[in-house]
């Protein structure tokens, strides 16, 4: 039951972030001067239309289209990564520090971003739900923060960019003593400074 509810929360945040990401893709396309109808057409489609109309040579057009396609793909990938990086909270099961499968791609996106931006630091805070003892939960929150830190470092971030702190059960995201509150409080938060 607690797993279901935390998955729901995750799915909700994830889908919201993807929607936000789509609209930012459109804006990027607009900046290139290739059309302003951001919402309806995808970046790839508008790109090929412009080049197809502007150049008579099939060969060079094909090459340009290929290049453009790759650029567009890269842009889309970047947009997707940006969308994923909107997610900065990661949830855990009771008394574990195991990073969930659905969190991995998102954390990889964060790690690549940190790798590409060596001046960027991140504060990683670990939290526990209210059940059990405060000091053990402080250590458990640290174990969760450390698990996320290790994952980021393995995937390209530098250890020097990361700082971990555990608040144990002291800073609940949601007040209350329900399964749903507990699920939302067992978490690690990334804070990009």
């Amino acid at each position: 039951m607690k797993m279901t509810s935390s998955k729901n929360v995750f799915a909700l945040i994830f889908s919201f972030a993807l929607i936000a990401g789509c609209s930012s893709t459109g804006e990027t396309t607009g900046e290139g001067g290739m059309g302003t109808s951001a919402g309806s057409a995808s970046g790839e489609e508008s790109g090929s239309t412009v080049f197809g109309g502007g150049d008579g040579s099939g060969v060079s057009s094909s090459e340009m289209t290929e290049q453009e396609r790759m650029e567009a793909e890269a842009r889309a990938e970047q947009a997707q990564a940006e969308a994923m990086r909107e997610i900065t909270t990661f949830y855990f099961d009771f008394d574990t520090a195991e990073i969930k499968q659905e969190a991995r791609d998102v954390l990889v996106a964060h790690a690549r971003y940190l790798q590409a931006n060596p001046g960027q630091n991140v504060r990683i805070t670990g939290h526990a739900d209210e059940r059990g003892t405060k000091e053990y939960n402080l250590a458990l929150g640290e174990r969760r923060a450390n698990a996320v830190q290790r994952f980021l470092v393995v995937n390209g971030a530098s250890r020097g960019q990361t700082e971990t702190v555990s608040y144990g059960e002291e800073q609940p995201a949601v007040m209350g003593s329900s399964e749903s509150a507990w699920a939302q409080n067992r978490r690690v938060e990334l804070d990009f400074e």
């Binding site: 008394d95 053990y136 640290e142 174990r143 971990t164 702190v165 003593s177």
Partner: protein, 438 residues
Amino acid sequence: MRNRAYRPDIRRSLLVFVILSLFTVPAMGDELLIRITKGADSAIPISVVPFSESGQMPSGDKVSRIIQNDLEMSGEFAPLPPEQMLSLPSRGDEVFFRDWRLLGQRYVLVGQVTSAGGTLNAQYELYDVSQEKRLVGATASAPASASRSLAHHISDRVYEAITGVEGAFSTKLAYVTLERNANGPTYRLQVSDVDGKRARVRLESDEPILSPAWSPDAKKLAYVSFETGKPAVYVHELSTGNRQRVADFPGLNSAPAWSADGQSLLMTLSKDGNAEIYRMNLASGDLKRLTNHWSIDTEPSYDHTGNGFFFTSDRSGGPQIYHKASENAEPRRITFGSRYNARPRPGPDGDYVYYVHQRDRAFHIARTNLESGDETVLTRTESDESPSVSPNGRMLIYATKSGENSVLTVIAADGGAAYSLPASRGDVREPAWSPIVR
């Protein structure tokens, strides 16, 4: 620790307290209100007859009323309400044993309080009704401003005369209150009498305060504060308010516990990778690492010998209680009864260890008899944390939930009686019972 040593004249020790108070006047705290929820079935009937009074009495509770409350909250006594008494003697020659036998009383306490020149003087006598014998006849005095100390002192004498065990009514409680409002949380480290009165704020912070622990002389508190944005261990001298940040390593700095000589602290640090237990010599700052395992090791507490210690470790897969008989001994697992047992606190005699115990979905306080290995669940409440045993081993205080808030509850250490100390507002948590101050 528990042998009865010289007990200084209460007047002298109180005078010292007052002088030091002139230099540091801690803010008034939120007093806790005692709510008796369950008396022990075996509670001893005793009559605390309202003391006669002469001279200008201090405002607030009468001395005999405070004594009556003390004895009742121990769970071991059932004081007779004064309105049911047939007579109100204040001296031994006024006590008619037949009256008290009729009322089913086993003990009667009578006394007088006089006030002169800013000093309260009490004369009191404790009688065994069935034997028609005086057990205690004594005097005590205190500044008028310290009438509660005077009363707790008399409670201790009465308790010891009847049970043979040193009273703990003159001891203190340290605890943390948490108030959440629009400006965010406010944590307050407070110290009060064991009956929740005379609460004083010793530290206030927007950031968490955790794990207060009394020094053996009850003059200092060690605790964890997040005031710098991360957990660090502090030692705080109560009389002066002087504080020292003793551990501020990368990672965790938490769970301080004093050695019997007050020279060292056990604590949990993660500077070497994960949560391990260390001993710090407070004078030199030298550290000795006492555990070495990839799992979480935390919540240390010295055992009654002062050589070994209990701690929580999840090396078996979930948190369980372990004991090391000495710093270099192999850890021995103590708890097996459920998958979550944590934060051990030993009783003063070495016979029991008390801890947080998960059973079904609830968290209770349980204890294990260290000789037999038998485990007893002591509480019926369901979100229990932070057990702390009274220095005479007879009572146990812990934090539990009442609605949305955390409250303190005191029970007899064998699980008999119970009373709670709800905070006037917000949460009250992390109780720590002081040693007996001599």
